[in-house]
Structure formats: structure tokens, C-alpha cells
Amino acid sequence: MIVLLRGAHMVKNWRWVINIIILTILLSCIGVIANLTASSSPSFMLSCSSELFNHHNDQQDSNHYLLVDLLSKDGQVQVHYRYFNIDGSSAGTVSMQGKVNSIDTENMIYDISVNTKQESPLAEHQQVPEHYRYLSYVSNLNLSRDGMHNLSLQIIEQDKAKDFAVVLFQPSNTVCGCRLVH
């Protein structure tokens, strides 16, 4: 009888171990699913227009315009930089594609990784905006070194209607006022 009880006890012990493993795996799965669900990115679009001023050493200052559109949908993100001359003609474009890594809704910080980039070829005689040159250099450096160009944007101020926001881009430490498109 004692032997019988001992045998049954050991079988129960093994069941307990199996139960713990299954429970832990289940909890892990629930956690991962919850995390993935929570981090599903809401869609948003930012449109930012800027006036570019370039101070040169021995030349006259040159000015350009820059339109930046940042579109995020289903965790994917596209960033388009469009440069224009004062007369409205194109001075180059840079298009980037990537994904939204995380969204910190509490601090309104969006963490983005850009994986691919296309730059429009410019005519030889055309003066390249310094900002274009700078953006191209930094993103090339990151993409060739790390395979991705990481950036985060933090909304530091919004108007009451939430149509406009002041956004801080990192790591470039760029503050920019943008129109929010819902």
C-alpha cells in the first residue's frame, strides 16, 4: 500500500512540473500577444514645411523650401523629403521606408527605423540644398553601417484642435512645426 501511494505521489509530482511548464508557456504567449496587440501602431500623418537658408563662405546665400511628409500605417512608415527652389522647381527628393518600432503614448514619442532609401538624381548644374546634402550623408552613414537609420519623434506641443504640433526629431535634435493630418 505504501509503495502504491509513493508511486502515485511521484506521478503527481511530474504532473505538477508539466503543469508549471505549460502554464509558463501559456503566460508567455498571452504576454507576447498582449504586447503585440498593444503595440499595433495607430495611423498618423505629419506634414512639415520649412524655409531653408544656406549661408556660404564666398557665395551669396541660397534659399530653398522643404516639405516633409511622414506617413505611418499598420506599423509601416514612409518619410518623404521634397526640396524646392525659390521658383518652385524641384531641388531633389529623398524617400525613406521603414517601420514603427514602438510608440510611447504617455510621452508621445514615436520610435522609427528606416530600412530603405531612394534619392532623386539631381542635374549637375543644380545647386544642392545643404540640408539635402546633410540628410543624405547622415542617412547613408547609418544605413551602410547599421543597415538602418533610426529616428524618434517626440511631440512637444500640440494646439487645442490637434491640427498642428511642434515635433522634436532625434538624433538630429531638430525641432519642427508640423500639420497633423488625421
Binding site: 509503495v3 531653408l52 545643404e130 546633410y134 535634435n173
Partner: protein
């Protein structure tokens, strides 16, 4: 001779349970059957041989052999009773059991069982923890304004000038640009702008100025991005700021 967690002492004719220390002095039938099964371990022992034994004593009856097998199995316990196998129509067989004995004994100790359970749980928690880390990237800390200054215009209107910098490398140059802007704004009679944000890229290549105000209740925003290839870098001057019409 080890049988499960029992030890068979041939000389004393005893089976000792190692776990409960229970000692069973085997009756004649059980002793005869077990001795023969051990002698021919791994082989089938015919029932007639089990009955006659070495022939020195009175043969056992069929019922005695069957009963001896039953009681031996009962003493070995449910885990090891199958060591004695019935081969239908032939007899009985005592199986080799070393590997089974070791594995079962290893896990049968409560302390070992607890260690195994704890290790299993720890590994499972570690795996789940790693999964959480993988799917929960660390949150970046929000960047706060480095400084905020309020400029009073000649009309009495006020404008906030806010500097943003997440490092100290470019702070001196940024503050210098902020001072230039404050001085220019102070000379304005009025302006549409209520708040001005300044930031300088870490490598001091681009100065960003964002002017924010309201016009008939609607938000208005203007972004100025200045690249300066001159050395030393000046970015903005009062004359330049006047040129870009920061005053109304």
C-alpha cells in the same frame, strides 16, 4: 542483487525495501521462485522448473508458484512489478532493469525533484522574460526644454523663447543663437508669434527655428532651417532676422 528499490540478500533469503527499510524474510515458495528467476535472469523459466527447484525438496504446487509470483510482485511495488513478466503458456521471466531503476530513483528523491522543478521553472521564466524583452523595447526618455526665456516686446507683448538640446556639446552655440533671437524680438513692436523653439543639430550643422502663434484663432507655424558653412558659424544675426520678418 538489486530489484527496483529492493535488495535481495541471497544468503539470508531476505528482500529489503531500501526506501522503507521493510525487510521480508521470504517463505520457501517465494525464495525458490525468486532464486530461479535471478539465476536465469533475462530468460524464460518454465513453470515445471519453478515448481521442482533443485529437486531437493517437495515440489511446489501450481497455485503456490502463482501465489509466490503475486506476492513478489506486490512487494516490488507498482513501479517494478512488471520486472517479473508472465510468458503465456511457458513460464515467467525476470527482466533486466538497471537503467529504469536509475532514472526512477534519481527523480524519486524529493530534493532532486525540487531542484529539477526549480531549474525547469527558472528556464521557462527566463525564456518568457527574454521574449518580453524582445517585444518590449526600452522607452526613450522624453527630451525636456533646456531653457525657456520670456521676451517682452516694446508693445508689452511677450514671446517665449525655448531652447532644446539633448547634449552639452552644442549648448553654448545654441544659447548664443537664442540670445540673438531674444534681442531681435525685443526690438519688435509686435509679432504674430507667441512661442519660438530653437534647436541645433549635434554636429552644429543646422539651426532649427520654429515660430508658433495664432491668427484669428487658428494655429500658424513657420519653420526656419539654417545651414552655415562659414567659420566661425553665426547662423542668425539681428540683420538677418529682420530680413526674414520675425516682427509684424
Amino acid at each position: 542483487m538489486q530489484l527496483g528499490h529492493c535488495k535481495f540478500d541471497v544468503n539470508k533469503g531476505e528482500l529489503v525495501n531500501n526506501q522503507s527499510d521493510e525487510v521480508w524474510r521470504l517463505p520457501r515458495a517465494e525464495l525458490q521462485v525468486l532464486t530461479l528467476l535471478i539465476d536465469y535472469q533475462g530468460k524464460v523459466v518454465a513453470k515445471p522448473l519453478l515448481k521442482t527447484g533443485n529437486g531437493q525438496e517437495q515440489p511446489l504446487s501450481d497455485a503456490s508458484v502463482t501465489h509466490a509470483i503475486f506476492t513478489l510482485r506486490a512487494f516490488l511495488g507498482p513501479q517494478y512489478e512488471s520486472l517479473i513478466e508472465t510468458v503465456k503458456g511457458q513460464g515467467y521471466l525476470l527482466k533486466h532493469h538497471r537503467s529504469r531503476k536509475q532514472s526512477v530513483n534519481f527523480f524519486s528523491h524529493p530534493q532532486r525533484f525540487a531542484i529539477i522543478a526549480i531549474i525547469t521553472l527558472a528556464v521557462a521564466l527566463l525564456i518568457s522574460g527574454l521574449m518580453f524583452i524582445r517585444f518590449s523595447p526600452p522607452k526613450a526618455l522624453p527630451v525636456l526644454p533646456n531653457s525657456t526665456a520670456t521676451v517682452k516686446l516694446t508693445s508689452g507683448q511677450t514671446v517665449d523663447v525655448i531652447l532644446y538640446s539633448s547634449s552639452k556639446t552644442n549648448l553654448a552655440l545654441l544659447k548664443k543663437q537664442g540670445m540673438q533671437l531674444q534681442q531681435s524680438l525685443a526690438q519688435c513692436n509686435s509679432t504674430s508669434w507667441k512661442r519660438v523653439f530653437l534647436s541645433l543639430s549635434h554636429d552644429e550643422q543646422v539651426l532649427n527655428i520654429t515660430l508658433r502663434g495664432e491668427h484669428y484663432g487658428q494655429s500658424v507655424i513657420r519653420n526656419l532651417k539654417i545651414s552655415d558653412l562659414r567659420q566661425p558659424k553665426k547662423f542668425v544675426s539681428q540683420a538677418w532676422l529682420k530680413g526674414v520678418e520675425i516682427c509684424d
